[in-house]
């Protein structure tokens, strides 16, 4: 009987691994396809299937697409850096207040902040375009800089608040009794214990801003102001689809987020589970 059980477990395992293997291949297929296609010449793209290995590998598409995407890449970097730093800074203070400095009505305010996460961008498109024209930023990269600084705050606040909830209240009370004011407690106790919330919030912001498409499409005009996601869409060509160029460009776009997920993925899990 015992032997049967062991056998059953073994069979279950084998089935499980086969299924898992299948799904892994399925989900890695697009990545594989874009890697091999990016290494092919235009001619070879036409005569081979998109999953076969290139017969004469070439780096030309990667180089060409990089040259083309240089400016948008810098734009996206500017957006990511400014948006992430600013929203994390404010969110950390807000998270501290919502978690450790409750006041009458603070719960309602927190709910309002979190509700901002649930307003779809489609609803905000027209008002935002109008608002940006009013302040004279429409079409400019500045509009996106401002937008991401603000839009990152609700999600990051939520992350900071949940992770700050894990810091024992006795730390705050002890500091109070020892004579520390609100700001001193933030600087001396909370901030030094915030490495993980900062990493978690930053990773989420970086990926969200880097991958965002709709706002860049709507708010910016011209290559000089475009973020990379919008620029890559322009790579598709007007008459002929240059698949190798597109795939090479996509690889450049996907690379940073891919690296983040591979090396810092565990922090993203922490962000969702609220464990410091």
């Amino acid at each position: 009987m015992g032997g049967n059980k062991v056998k059953n477990i073994k069979i279950n395992r084998i089935i499980l691994y086969i299924l898992l293997g299948f799904f892994v291949i399925l989900s890695l297929l697009p990545l594989w396809s874009s890697v091999v296609t990016a290494l092919k010449t235009s001619k070879e793209v036409i005569i081979t299937t998109p999953i076969t290995f290139p017969l004469h590998p070439t780096l030309t598409p990667l180089r060409e697409s990089f040259d083309y995407l240089k400016k948008p890449l810098t734009n996206s970097l500017v957006l990511v850096v400014s948006g992430t730093i600013t929203s994390c800074f404010f969110a950390s203070i807000l998270g501290y207040v919502f978690s450790k400095r409750r006041f009458p009505g603070s719960t309602i305010l927190l709910i309002l902040v979190i509700l901002c996460l649930y307003i779809p961008p489609q609803v905000q498109l027209i008002p935002m375009v109008k608002a940006m024209s009013k302040v004279g930023l429409y079409g400019d990269l500045g509009s996106l800089v401002l937008l991401y600084m603000l839009f990152g705050i609700p999600m990051s606040t939520f992350i900071f608040k949940t992770l700050y909830d894990e810091i024992p209240d006795s730390f705050i009370n002890a500091a109070k009794v020892d004579g520390a004011g609100t700001w001193t407690i933030y600087q001396r106790i909370i901030l030094p214990l915030s490495v993980i919330p900062f990493v978690v919030a930053a990773i989420l912001q970086v990926t969200v801003i880097w991958n965002d498409y709709i706002w860049g499409l709507v708010l910016t005009r011209g290559m000089a102001n475009m973020p990379i996601t919008v620029a890559i869409a322009n790579l598709k060509g007007s008459f002929v689809a240059e698949w190798n160029l597109q795939m090479a460009g996509s690889l450049w776009v996907a690379l940073p987020t891919l690296i983040i997920f591979i090396f810092l993925g565990k922090y993203i899990m922490r962000g969702y589970t609220g464990k410091i």
Binding site: P168, S170, N173, A175, K176, V177, G179, T184, L193
Partner: protein, 368 residues
């Protein structure tokens, strides 16, 4: 250093009353223990003293200084109340070294670096943690952390120490040791101390005076011996002492000119001395209380005694807890020897007349 006076303190959490009309007077340099079951309001009282929560009614004075009085809109925030507090979880900041933790309150007060070093080292020496000053808290044992928390409290020379179950997280052996050390430390520093615990042994051994709290109010405050020998009510009698005081319910009766208590399993004749002490009581329903060490076990019947069967014998180390039973009533007796006893056998029990407590059954108040 300062005395502490609490008058009519009431603290509510929404609808629930956490502390009700509490009066407490703590003399300068005194070590007072607040003890009671969980949820009795002892910790709430303490954080009220610290200023970590507002109070609803009453006044708290540090010496001549009124620190909180809602009636006159006086509320000093914790930062202004020169108290130091030791928390149950020690609240040691994990990102600072031991030195950093102890120096923290001084750094906030912008005291110059050299003086901070001198004072931290002095405190560390007193607590015997000089060699740990460069360590991080996660490299410390429970006992060492507790010392660091104490260090952070004493380095400031506060007016009042507040300690919220600082020994609760230590293992049993260390706790007994830390108890003695802490008491010595307090005597050395001569700082007024309020100590909260749910452990009555800690309370009895450490407190100059012990305040027993129950159900949001103060039951009795007094020297440990006073609480032990003359509990003011049934709650204090039952809470202080281990094993607990034996409580027998009965009825006061007059019999042949003698005052007796009908305990159902025995008619207990009250000694003359107690009769004289007894206050007039409306209710005849009473509870007779007697501590386990004040019951004698004999083989022969003597006057005013009753018979009971031994059900279980337990060795606690230096003495035995002997469990007996008579007429459905359980009795505990402590004794240092048991060679003359046997489980299942019947013996005669007599109560030490000097040590009897009598409580009103309904109100729980002592009638002596």
């Amino acid at each position: 250093m300062s005395s502490l006076t609490i008058k009519g303190l009431t603290i509510r959490y929404g609808e629930t009353i956490a502390v009700e009309n509490l009066d407490l007077e703590v003399k300068d340099k005194e070590f007072v223990v607040l003890v009671g079951p969980s949820g009795c309001g002892k910790t709430t009282t303490m954080i009220g003293i610290a200023g970590l929560i507002g109070i609803d009614e009453g006044e708290i004075w540090f010496g001549n200084e009124l620190v909180v009085c809602p009636r006159n809109n006086i509320f000093k925030i914790p930062q202004q109340r020169e108290v130091a507090m030791v928390f149950q979880d020690y609240a040691i900041y994990p990102h600072m070294t031991v030195f950093g933790n102890i120096a923290f309150p001084l750094e906030i007060r912008k005291i110059n670096k050299r003086e901070i070093e001198v004072r931290v080292e002095k405190a560390a020496k007193l607590l015997k943690i000089e060699n740990l000053l460069n360590r991080k808290p996660n490299e410390l044992s429970g006992g060492q952390r507790q010392r660091v928390a104490l260090g952070r409290a004493i380095v400031r020379n506060p007016k009042i120490f507040l300690m919220d179950e600082p020994l609760a997280n230590l293992d049993a052996k260390l706790r007994v040791h830390a108890r003695v050390e802490l008491k010595k430390l307090q005597q050395e520093l001569d700082t007024t101390t309020i100590f909260v615990t749910h452990d009555q042994v800690e309370a009895m051994t450490m407190g100059d005076r012990v305040a027993v709290m129950n159900d949001s109010h103060l039951e009795q405050i007094g020297k440990p011996a006073e609480l032990y020998n003359n509990p003011r009510n049934r709650f204090v009698a039952g809470f202080i002492g281990s094993p607990s005081m034996n409580m027998f319910e009965g009825r006061l009766k007059e019999e042949k000119g003698n005052l007796v208590i009908d305990l159902r399993f025995c008619i207990y004749e009250l000694p003359k001395k107690i009769r004289g002490l007894m206050k007039k009581t409306i209710s005849r329903e009473v509870t007779l209380g007697i501590r386990p060490e004040n019951i004698a076990i004999t083989k022969e019947s003597i006057r005013n005694c009753f018979e009971a069967t031994v059900t279980y014998i337990e060795l606690t180390g230096k003495e035995y807890n002997i469990y007996l039973e008579t007429g459905g009533v359980a009795i505990v007796v402590t004794r240092s020897f048991t060679h003359d006893l046997k489980v299942g056998n019947k013996f005669w029990l007599s109560l030490n007349e000097e040590k009897i407590n009598i409580f009103d059954k309904k109100l729980g108040k002592s009638l002596l």
